[in-house]
Amino acid sequence: MSTHRLLPIDPQTGRVRDLRTPTAHIGAFGPLGTVRSAAHGKPGPLIEEIAASGLRGRGGGWFPTARKMEAVVASAADRRTRSPGSRPVVIANAMEGEPASGKDAVLLAHVPHLILDGIQAAAATVGATDAYLAVHRGTPSVKMLEHAIGERRSDAVRVELITPPARYVASEESALAHWAGDGVATPVFGDRPFERGMNGRPTLVQNAETLAHLGLIARHGGAWFAEVGDPEAPGTTLVSVGGRVRQPGVIEVPTGTPVADLLARCGDTDGPVEGFLTGGYGGAWVTSEALSSAAWAPAQVRDAGGVIGAGILWALDAQVCPLHEIARVAAYMAGESAGQCGPCRFGLPSLADDLEDLAGGACTSDDLARIGERLSLVVNRGGCKHPDGTARFVSTGLAVFEAEVSEHLRGGCTATRPGHTLPLPKARKTPVKRAGKDFK
C-alpha cells in the first residue's frame, strides 16, 4: 500500500503531484462526501472513525485528535458556557512557525483542498459555525488559497483566510484564537482554547497536516488510517529534513520509520554529523549515536532524548561550531518573545547574551554555571511554553555538544567551516516590549 497519502507522487517525474485544482484534487482523492454534523451536545458520527484511526495532532503536541474534538463539543454543551455565541470555531494552523519546517508550505502548495476538506470534516463533527485557515503574513500562496476557497461553493461552513504576523509565538494555539477574535497574535494565559478560545467560544485549533489526514479519514475510515505506522501514533507523517543531508526537503513516511531509513530517503548525511536537532527551535538536540537507532515515532524519539514536535529533523554539520548555532537561535527566540512574562522577556535575552559569550570564547566556568541557573529560571514560569522550549533547545544542545563547550571554556573552537546553517527569519535584535504593535 502506498504511504504517499497526503502527497501523492507522480510516477513519471517522481515529484509530488500538483493537486491545486478541484478537478485534480477529486481525481486523486475522490469526493469528500457528506460529513454529518454534531447534534444534541454530541460530536458528529465521524468522531468514531477519528477515534479508531488513532490520529494525533501533528503540530507538536501529538494529542489525540478525537479527544480534543470531544472536549470542544463538551465545552459547547456545558451549561455554564452555553450562550448564543458559544458555537465552536475551527482554526487550521498552517503558520509554519518553526523556521526549519517546510511541511505547511508543501501542503498548501500541492494539496490545499485536502486541508480545506479536513476543515469541513472537523467543523461538521464539532458543530462549528465559523472556520479559519491561518497562514502567516507574507505567505506566497495567499492569492492561490483565496481562489481555492472561493471555488468551494458547496462547503457547509465558509472558511476565512487569516494572516497573523509571522512571529514565532503567533502560531501557538491560544495566540491564533486571540488573533482570530481580537487581532492580537499573543498567547493567552489561563483558559485553553478548546474551552474558551476565540471571543470566549470553544475553539478547535488543528495543525494543517492533522486536518489533511482528517480529510482522508473522512473518506476511507479509521481502520484504513491505522493500517500503517506506529500503533501508538498511527498513520503517515511529514518530516522536514534539513542540514547536512544530500537531498533536504519534506518527506512523508509512516510513523515508526527508522531514522536511518528516513535519512536514506534524503540521500543520507553528507559528511560528519555529531548531533541532530529534533522538533525545531522549541525542540531538543540528540547525539547521532542515540538517534541513529531510534524510530520516528513520538515515544521512541522521546526515549532517545529528542522530540518530534512538528516533524523537524536537522543534521548539524560537525565541522560547524554548534555553540554559534545555538547562540544565534537563542537570540532569535529571545527576540520572538511576546514580552508578556518577565522570565521570558528578561531571561531569554540574558541567556542569549551568555551564549554569545560562550560561542565567542568569553565564558568562564562560573559563567557556564550561571547559564545553567538561568535555564532553570525560565522554565514553568511563563504564560505559554516559548521559554520552556527555548530552554530545552539550549540545555540539550549544551549537553550534546559538551566537548565543544569544554573546548570553548579553554578558549578554543574546533569548527573548520563557517556557521549560520540553521535557517532564521530576519533577525530581531531588540526584544519586544509588552505585546507591541508588531503582534497586530
Partner: protein, 75 residues
C-alpha cells in the same frame, strides 16, 4: 477535628510586573528572581497555602498592584 478548605495561590505571569510585594509578605513561599519576578519556592504558577499563612496570602493578593495573584479555595 475540623476540616479546613485548602487554599491555593495562583500567579498570572502575563500580568505580573515585578513589584515584589508578594515576596515581602510571603517570604516562606515566594522569592524573587534576578529580574525581580516572583518564584514560588515549590515551583510552577500555583502553590498551596499552609493553614497558618492564609491571612498573609490574602494580604499578598490585595497588595499586588496589577492583580496578578488569585486565591482559590477547594475542599
Amino acid at each position: 477535628m475540623s476540616t479546613h478548605d485548602q487554599r491555593t495561590l495562583h500567579l498570572d505571569p502575563t500580568l505580573c510586573d515585578a513589584h515584589g510585594f508578594c515576596a515581602e509578605l510571603l517570604p516562606e513561599l515566594i522569592h524573587l528572581d534576578e529580574w525581580g519576578y516572583p518564584i514560588f519556592t515549590a515551583g510552577g504558577l500555583a502553590t498551596d497555602i499552609p493553614h497558618g499563612l492564609t491571612s498573609e496570602a490574602k494580604r499578598a493578593v490585595t497588595a499586588c498592584p496589577v492583580g496578578a495573584l488569585r486565591l482559590t479555595k477547594h475542599a
